[in-house]
């Protein structure tokens, strides 16, 4: 009898990468067309994520910031959005700030959000790192993992129904592939040929839970088969490969050929969040292993090989970004919390009578000074 799955087909397990160790591009790799300007712009974008992360974690450790989540080692996956148009939509999880920055979300808004202050674009409503940037078509982040997946499919499908050629790109971690949301989203996308790109950052961990406790599937990419869509395993630390795979998926989507699953194979070098201590559950040497495969160093080698890397440019980027961060922080820390009365806005399009009553009730109390206010 034929038992599907007994013989792993080696082709499905292959990892697509383009940038070789020395920074050159694999000879038969058909790399994407990338201008020098874009190559450098991407370099700056990679650096920005890294530098912001470092700074915010430090702040968190100093007790000046409530909570933070780093992306160290996964920055290249964020910049897959280079393959999109501004009118396309991104449905992020919490670990792709670089995608927001690259689409125009400012460091100022970012920082105000972390502080939940009166200038926070989402009015202090959510924990740090739960951004929302309408102008960047970067959809509101939610903590419950996976919920964004069917939403992205719905948006993509709506574009198709509306006869627009916008596509959706949705991010999630490999842990999130275990949720029902992943399954129903993928399945709907397959049936409706929704122009949606599923980008799974397989960083090996879901908090403390390793891949082998998450699924017995030999890869994430192979799961695409269950939904009649193509799946591809990409070296997630290779930005050129990420852009290439995403461009191909976007082209398919825009051509009406439906969705694609991209598994970006990478590694979560830092803890899950500022609340986590990864040394409890994994060998501290494991992340060290992955330092060698750092996506930023790799991109640098690519720039060098292309002959467009200059140390002066890197220093300049670092300095500019550093100054921007300092300025954004100085500003954000100055701003107080949102006004109390805003607590009752945006529940509905208008404030219902009863809720207005609750607002008046709260405002009538002696103003309670929050010990955390604005930080």
């Amino acid at each position: 009898m034929l038992m599907t799955g007994r013989q792993p087909s080696s082709s499905e397990d292959e990892l697509f990468s383009l940038i070789e160790d020395d920074g050159s591009v694999a000879p038969d790799g058909r790399p994407p067309v990338l201008s020098e300007v874009d190559a450098l712009r991407l370099f700056r974008a990679l650096l920005q994520v890294r530098l912001v992360d470092e700074r915010m974690m430090k702040l968190q450790r100093q007790g000046r910031l409530g909570f933070y989540m780093q992306s160290m080692g996964e920055e290249a996956t964020h910049l897959a959005v280079h393959a999109l148009r501004p009118s396309d939509w991104v449905f992020p999880s919490y670990r792709e700030p670089g995608a927001a920055f690259y689409r125009g979300y400012s460091l100022k808004d970012f920082t105000n959000q972390l502080f939940g202050n009166a200038e926070d674009p989402i009015k202090g409503r959510q924990m740090p790192v739960h951004h929302s940037a309408r102008s960047a078509n970067y959809v509101s982040i939610s903590s419950p993992v996976g919920t964004q997946i069917p939403q992205a499919v719905g948006m993509a499908w709506a574009a198709k129904i509306s006869q627009k050629d916008d596509v959706a790109l949705v991010y999630f971690g490999e842990g999130t592939t275990s949720t029902g949301q992943f399954h129903v989203g993928m399945n709907f996308a397959g049936v409706f040929k929704a122009p949606c790109i599923f980008l799974c950052r397989n960083n090996g961990y879901a908090i403390s839970t390793g891949y082998q406790h998450q699924t017995a599937s030999r890869s994430i990419a192979v799961k695409a088969l269950a939904y009649g869509m193509p799946g591809v395993r990409v070296d997630g630390n290779d930005l050129l490969a990420m852009i290439s795979a995403t461009e191909e998926a976007v082209a398919r989507a825009r051509a009406g050929d439906g969705p694609t699953l991209i598994e970006a194979v990478t590694y979560r070098r830092a803890g899950h969040s500022s609340s986590d201590d990864p040394n409890v559950y994994r060998d501290p040497n494991e992340p060290k292993e992955w330092e060698r495969r750092d996506p930023i160093e790799r991109w640098k080698r690519y720039l060098v090989a292309r002959g467009i890397y200059e140390e002066a440019i890197e220093s300049q980027y670092r300095q500019e970004i550093g100054e921007e961060i300092v300025a954004a922080l100085a500003h954000a820390e100055k701003i107080g919390p949102p006004a109390v009365e805003t607590l009752f806005d945006d529940v509905f399009s208008e404030v219902p009578v009863e809720l207005e009553g609750q607002r008046q009730e709260l405002l009538a109390l002696p103003r309670y000074v929050s010990p955390h206010g604005g930080s």
Binding site: W89, F91, D120, P121, I122, K123, R125, Q126, H130, S132, A133, R134, V139, S140, S142, P144, T147, I149, P150, Q151, A152, V153, G154, M155, A156, W157, A158, A159, I161, S162, A168, G180, Q181, H183, V184, G185, N187, F188, V191, F192, D345, D346, V347, F348, S349, P352, V353, E354, L355
Partner: protein, 324 residues
């Protein structure tokens, strides 16, 4: 004016709005060619095609999740959940996502999805084709909860819901889907969300109800009126936002309140009504507030008529309350 039942009224509202606004799409299990298991979407597939009247795979989380995405993009999705009892796989999408999108994004994103779903007992459906989960949704800030009791309201409220800017849980009383008939104006009109309706004026006791239970309460009122009792009946129509003015005005007038619903008693919507009255009209009360509800058991099959508040149970509550 044509006489419609609730199914026809819902169908008419959907057709009117789909003609008027090309952003309106209907999606759900078997809503297409089949027209829905209760036929509420009958004929829409033929008129508007498979891109706007969409048969989905069997996954409520997918139906609501994708509807949210559509709404974010600017469409006006009206998903159907085949039975309210099957809404729970979508509960996360409803309470954590749909209800909170506007708030959590600081007003940047909104998802005005109108979820239609038949609810309630009385069709010999047992545990899983009879539930009344309205209290779960009324307890979730960010959702409006609308429950019509008759064809006129069903059409007008559904049109208002689809035209609104907020997510709505639109629960349809399936026991009276066909039994509740009435004149329904042709063409366009809306019934405003948030306004209750006095179905019967009376002096002695206020009876609060909604959905199919309105008919049970009217039957009970007829019984007791024959014995000289004079209840006032309020059909809430919208549970959230509640028309508190209408409720309190009536209770302050009558000094007595009976609340009827099908859902289990504990933490049902009746608890909120009783609490509201106990908070704001306590001093006008001349009798304890009585709830006539489903019992605190799962919905049964053979004994569903014993489980459901009967006209007799409501009548007894009215009599006891007035005589208290």
């Amino acid at each position: 004016m044509p006489v419609f039942n609730i199914i026809q009224a819902v169908n008419d509202a959907l057709r009117i709005e789909m003609r008027r606004d090309s952003r309106v799409v209907v999606l759900g299990e078997d809503v297409g060619k089949f027209g829905g298991v209760f036929r509420a979407t009958s004929g829409l597939f033929e008129e508007f095609g498979g891109e706007r009247v969409i048969d989905t795979p069997l996954a409520e989380a997918g139906i609501i999740g994708t509807a949210i995405g559509m709404a974010l993009y600017g469409l006006k999705p009206v998903p159907e959940i085949q039975f309210a009892d099957f809404i729970y796989p979508a509960f996360d999408q409803i309470v954590n996502e749909l209800a909170k999108f506007r708030y959590r994004s600081g007003g940047q994103y909104t998802a005005p999805v109108v979820i239609r779903t038949p609810y309630g007992g009385g069709i010999r459906g047992g545990h899983y084709h009879s539930q009344s989960p309205e209290a779960y949704f009324a307890h979730t800030p960010g959702l409006k909860v609308v429950i019509p009791s008759n064809p006129y309201d069903a059409k007008g409220l559904l049109l208002a819901a689809i035209r609104g800017e907020d997510p709505v849980i639109f629960m349809e009383p399936k026991r009276v889907y066909r039994a509740a008939k009435g004149e329904v104006p042709e063409g366009d009109y809306t019934v405003p969300i948030g306004e209750a309706k006095v179905v019967r004026e009376g002096r002695q006791v206020t009876v609060l109800c909604y959905g199919a239970m309105v008919h049970t309460v009217i039957e009970a009122a007829e019984k007791v009126a024959a014995d000289g009792f004079d209840p006032e009946i309020i059909d809430l129509r919208t549970l959230l936002p509640l028309d508190t003015e209408a409720v309190l005005t009536s209770v302050r007038k009558t000094g007595r309140a009976v609340i009827a619903h099908e859902a289990p008693k504990t933490c049902g919507y009746g608890a909120e009504l009783a609490a509201l009255i106990a908070e704001r009209a306590l001093m006008q009360l001349e009798a304890p507030i009585v709830r006539v509800t489903g019992f605190d058991t799962p919905f049964p099959y053979s004994l569903e008529n014993e489980y459901l508040p009967s006209p007799e149970r409501v009548a007894k509550a009215i009599r006891d309350t007035v005589r208290f």
